[in-house]
Symmetry: C2
Subunit: 406 residues, 2 copies
């Protein structure tokens, strides 16, 4: 008999200890590290052929055997469509590639990939009995979790830097969340959430402090493989802040390979950061297994302004294992790339996505990516959440003026 | 043998004269009215069973027989997913309904329903040989057309009121369009575009001045019917500016009924406007067949700030035919409804969508919509394009402060 979910247990990403997945749990009780969901892949491979997916709705829940919710009734949904994989031929030619795909996460609810983590994370949080969730955020994650919490009937407490995109603040408030601003960075917000959690009845659902957000992010990887006709790209390029998306995509492909639903070699992973906040890049260049906190970090790509990520060791491990890279991009360069891509293909990417595109240009120039390689770049959210990335100062004409057209 | 598109000709919406659909054409040469695309529905009904759609990609092009592009190669795409139909049970209970669906257009490229018109309109514009397109806009349509023009390799000229949402200006510029601002309303922008068109080699693709945008909007109706399991709602509620979406949904259902792909009664259509710009409501209440220009129109729901629509006579005809309604909502009420929906269901709707929801509440209170009726409300775009709809002014805490949590 087939199961709806093949979730079997949780496993500590550092010490490897197993934990029961049926009740609410945060970090590993032994070593305080993130827990990863593990599935009974042998049973799944036996029970369910890949073709079973063919008739399912074109949404992230089509992969329910590889997600934690125990039934469809437990899913909190706002319409998590499979996001487009857009082939960018004009732009690819410009940078010297034959086959470049942008996985465009702007089609998600809340217009960023954070919706995936929130859809799966909030669903599972409710299923295991949580009612009041709290988290620090650079904006998009908080917006997504506040939105899904409201849809689920849960209460959300969000703390974000005062400089986080104001639209994400509006999203949290529109969803009825309790929102606080801090004159600092996400680490400051995290400490304040931790204190509130220690004092009250809130549950801390910060990045990697609960095990299921990553399972939602994983669906990016599942979709990419299916959208490429159940085949693998050569290179996956990911704008990296907390790094959960990168870890999730890697985890997805590893599970699909183990299942035998796809065959071939694990892609090389590229973690892209901003020059003003590049702890992973620094650690990678030094060959270290963990990153060091970056003081006074800053970048226009606010989503990757994460001075020290809890999952840094997992990201670095993936980069080393896959013979990948970590690369930093300046704000000036990423803003220029945003315009180049827009003019060539129309798509208005977020600054994090633009950073990833810029990194591809550099890696092609270096020869690290070959012309014939198949490259997938994650555009993690909609450009419209960052209107300040484009200078919109224009002259204003009086009605009836002739247009000074080109 | 089946055809990719069953487009047969264009027909004037006012004088009924037929026009050839194979070359570039704007308004009816005889009476200067909008042209509507007509399909060989009898042949389509004979050639293609509805079930032929089952294995197609879950995107608007799945309805290609009812769209104008002559082949898949002619389609300009940025990933036009079938947008979610979200059942809003908690909110429905609050307003006294059993079954309320929100068709959420924020999942489209450019995060508004305007992407549909642009995807199909730009595809067809390029197919019939246009290279330089010009249009006036309240923001979202211009953003969508600029974006798709870039994707298609066309050049776009956009004129918008200075007060149009700044994010839409950023979208146009990010896509490399030529953008001008006018110190006026969309009618002023329209006159300036018309002058530039008369003087140069631009083609005017303003609302209903070319025949194919409406075909893109029509896909909202096709999707709604399929997503309801090939059945019809009782009431369709649409925030109405230019009205093309409403006309398109009606046209979709009329075509599906004629094809026999769905059976039942045409839904009642409700056109929702803002109190500060309600020409259709005024005309409807007077039983008139056309609307009168509204001077000094204003509303926070910028997308429906259209003082006089070229298709007003079509909208009014549909309202009369379907025993529908036209109703105006105050800015204060629609902003309040936006927050009620957000807190109940998480979804951050655009102010136009909020106006439509508010209208439903009123019509249920009046008894015009019965509790057991199946209602579909169009949320025409993402709330994140209008962050000013939510007051985001909050105190800023110092790092380390205790949160004054509730």
């Amino acid at each position: 008999m087939t199961r709806y979910s093949y979730l079997s247990h949780l496993e500590c990403a550092r010490c490897g200890q197993s934990q029961d997945a049926t009740h609410a749990i945060g970090l590993c009780p032994s070593c305080n590290s993130p827990l990863l969901a593990r599935y009974d892949l042998a049973a799944l491979a036996r029970d369910v052929p890949r073709d079973a997916l063919r008739d399912r709705a074109w949404e992230l829940w089509r992969y329910h055997e590889l997600l934690p919710s125990s039934s469809a009734e437990e899913q909190v949904t706002l319409g998590e469509v499979v996001t487009p994989m857009l082939r960018m031929d004009r732009y690819a030619t410009d940078i010297g590639l034959d086959e470049l795909w942008v996985k465009d996460e702007s089609a998600t609810p809340t217009s960023s990939f954070k919706a995936r983590g929130a859809a799966v994370g909030v669903s599972r949080a409710r299923e295991v009995g949580m009612r009041r969730i709290a988290m620090p955020t650079n904006g998009n994650a908080g917006a997504a979790w506040a939105t899904y919490a409201a849809r689920a009937g849960l209460t959300a407490l969000i703390v974000m830097p005062r400089n986080a995109p104001v639209v994400t603040r509006a999203e949290c408030l529109a969803a009825g969340a309790e929102v606080h601003l801090v004159d600092g960075v996400i680490s400051d917000a995290g400490a304040m959430v931790a204190a509130a959690v220690a004092d009250g009845d809130w549950v801390d659902v910060a990045t990697l402090k609960e095990p299921y957000r990553i399972e939602g992010k994983k669906t990016m990887g599942l979709e990419i493989v299916e959208q490429l006709g159940w085949s693998l790209p050569d290179v996956v390029v990911y704008p990296t802040g907390g790094g959960v998306g990168l870890i999730g995509i890697y985890k997805a492909i590893a599970e699909l390979l183990e299942l035998g639903w796809v065959h071939g070699e694990m892609p090389r992973f590229v973690a892209v950061q901003a020059e003003g906040c590049a702890p992973i890049v620094t650690a990678f260049e030094r060959g270290e297994s963990e990153s060091t906190f970056v003081p006074d970090s800053r970048t226009v790509a606010f989503g990757i302004n994460v001075p020290k990520a809890l999952g840094d060791f997992l990201v670095l491990d993936i980069l080393y294992r896959t013979k990948g890279r970590a690369i930093a991009v300046s704000d000036e360069d990423l803003l220029a790339e945003l315009r180049v891509l827009g003019a060539a293909e129309g798509l208005f990417v977020c600054p994090e996505g633009a950073a990833a595109l810029r990194a591809v240009r550099t890696l092609v120039q270096e020869g690290w990516i070959g012309r014939e390689e198949r490259v997938v770049v994650l555009n993690t959210g909609a450009g419209i959440k960052y209107p300040e990335c484009v200078d919109t100062d224009l002259p204003v004409l009086a009605p009836g003026s002739a247009l000074p057209t080109r």
